[in-house]
């Protein structure tokens, strides 16, 4: 954390706060889909709950950004109140760790679209393993559990990876990111 500027930490928490609200707003959507389709309903939109790690890592590009932002977003969700309680902080950490592991594998150097999508998949995998034990998936039919997993992986890649990149690029175009890694790259003209 020593190479982090304080500015970056506050911006990271501001992003986490915004997305904590988004995460909470999507909980009833998830509950609705769950009610219609069963547990797989959640997996359809699960990627939305990883999006802040992708955005924060893509913008700030420092070790820990993915893990920290997801953890803070989960903490804020708990603080706002209408959530799953302190346990949620742990699931946030597990989701963030999945994305962080992918960025770590590139030594926090590569932020191409494939890496961002893979980071979404990373969160899908770690969160699924966690959900398997905490959510009692062991009681469900094996084929159904596999279908849930596949849907969650796709959702992680598309919603967290692709949408996360689109939002960050949109933000970079406004110029507010000029003093962060992504903004600097945009100024150099590497990203259209």
């Amino acid at each position: 954390m020593t190479n982090w500027r304080f500015k970056e930490i506050v911006v990271l928490s501001a992003l986490s706060v915004v997305f904590a609200v988004v995460y909470l707003a999507f909980l009833p959507v998830g509950k609705l889909l769950f009610g219609i389709l069963g547990p797989i309903g959640y997996d359809l939109i699960f990627g939305i709950w990883f999006i802040v790690s992708i955005i924060a890592a893509y913008i700030i590009r420092k070790p820990g950004a993915a893990f920290l932002s997801e953890t803070i977003a989960a903490t804020i969700e708990v603080l706002i109140g209408n959530a799953v309680g302190p346990m949620l902080i742990i699931s946030g950490m597990i989701q963030g760790a999945g994305a962080e592991a992918v960025f770590a594998a590139t030594r926090w150097k590569n932020y191409s679209i494939w890496v961002l999508m893979l980071a979404g998949v990373g969160s899908s995998i770690t969160s699924f393993i966690y959900g398997y034990f905490m959510g009692g998936f062991a009681a469900l039919d094996t084929g159904y559990v596999i279908a849930m997993f596949v849907v969650r992986v796709i959702s992680g890649a598309l919603i967290a990876g692709l949408l996360g990149k689109a939002i960050s690029d949109g933000l970079a175009k406004t110029g507010v990111l000029s003093s962060y890694a992504l903004g600097k790259e945009v100024r150099k003209g590497k990203v259209a």
Binding site: M1, W4, R5, F6, K7, I9, V10, V11, L12, S13, A14, L15, S16, V17, V18, V21, P28, K31, F34, G35, G38, P39, L68, I72, T75, I76, V78, L79, I80, G81, N82, A83, V84, G85, P86, M87, I89, I90, Y132, F133, M134, G135, G136, A138, A139, L140, D141, T142, Y144, I167, G170, L171, T174, V176, L177, S179
Partner: protein, 259 residues
């Protein structure tokens, strides 16, 4: 009020332990007992607005119901398909029914435990206690607190953006598709203003001498005392009593390690 005076970090730790222990149980009796005792504990040891409390609990009832019927339908093939239970003229295996009930009540008891934490904990105290008890870096902790302060401002910010759009001739929409594209239009300005605010706050804090150094002093000191260990013991005892009761009634079913 006992629950309000506990150390926030220790309270969170205790609840996380109980929730993990609950995840090992696959029978309906244990979480039911824990659910009821948690609410009683809340009643005895906390000062709560009950109307608000049950309003928060309500969505979890819906969630628990969804959990119940989906587990019932998508359950594994039972070991004893001969024993069935009839609901609304449909036959379900007795084993699946019990597991479904167990998972549904588990949702409720986890919700009650979480609400116990949320309704009795001051947010700023929780974060300050994380610095003092868990050695969380003050740089991150105060960054989070600063970010948390933006929350009420965001509502105003959204209003400003909405009005700015309207004054430029973008009309309000009522269709779902229109609402969706409207939110897409709000997203980037809202995020951009949050980032600008965060940047200004960070600069203001640093210019007033905030270094994020660990050797700082605190106006409010948090310590772990006997009360906190007593709470841990109370919760573990409740858990043990719940498991024992379920065992004596012949219902107890633990996670058997199958994948």
């Amino acid at each position: 009020m006992f629950l309000h005076q506990l150390n926030p970090t220790m309270k969170a730790f205790t609840i996380v332990i109980i929730v993990i222990l609950l995840a090992l149980i696959f029978d309906p009796i244990t979480p039911s007992i824990l659910f009821l005792t948690t609410i009683i504990l809340m009643f005895v040891g906390g000062k709560v607005n009950w109307k608000r409390y049950f309003l928060y609990l309500l969505p979890f009832l819906l969630f628990a119901f969804g959990m119940f019927w989906t587990t019932l339908i998508f359950a594994k093939q039972p070991d004893l398909p001969g024993q069935t239970i009839t609901i609304l003229t449909f036959d379900f295996p007795r084993e699946s029914f019990i597991v479904a009930l167990a998972l549904a009540v588990r949702v409720l008891s986890v919700a009650a435990l979480s609400l116990l934490f949320i309704f009795t904990t001051n947010i700023v105290h929780f974060i300050l206690s994380l610095i003092q008890q868990l050695k969380l870096s003050p740089k991150i902790a105060y960054g989070v607190l600063a970010g948390y302060r933006f929350l009420p401002m965001m509502k105003d910010e959204l209003k400003v953006i909405r009005e700015a759009h309207r004054i430029r001739g973008v009309n309000q929409v009522s269709t779902i598709r229109g609402k969706w594209s409207q939110y897409k239009r709000y997203a980037i300005p809202l995020l951009a203003s949050a980032i600008r605010k965060a940047e200004r706050t960070a600069i203001a804090m640093e210019s007033k001498g905030f270094t994020g150094d660990r050797s700082r002093t605190f106006l409010k000191q948090f310590t772990v005392s006997g009360k906190d260990w007593l709470f841990l013991v109370i919760m573990l005892t409740l858990y043990a009593v719940a498991v024992y009761t379920s065992y004596s009634l012949g219902f107890l079913k633990l996670y058997d390690g199958e994948l």
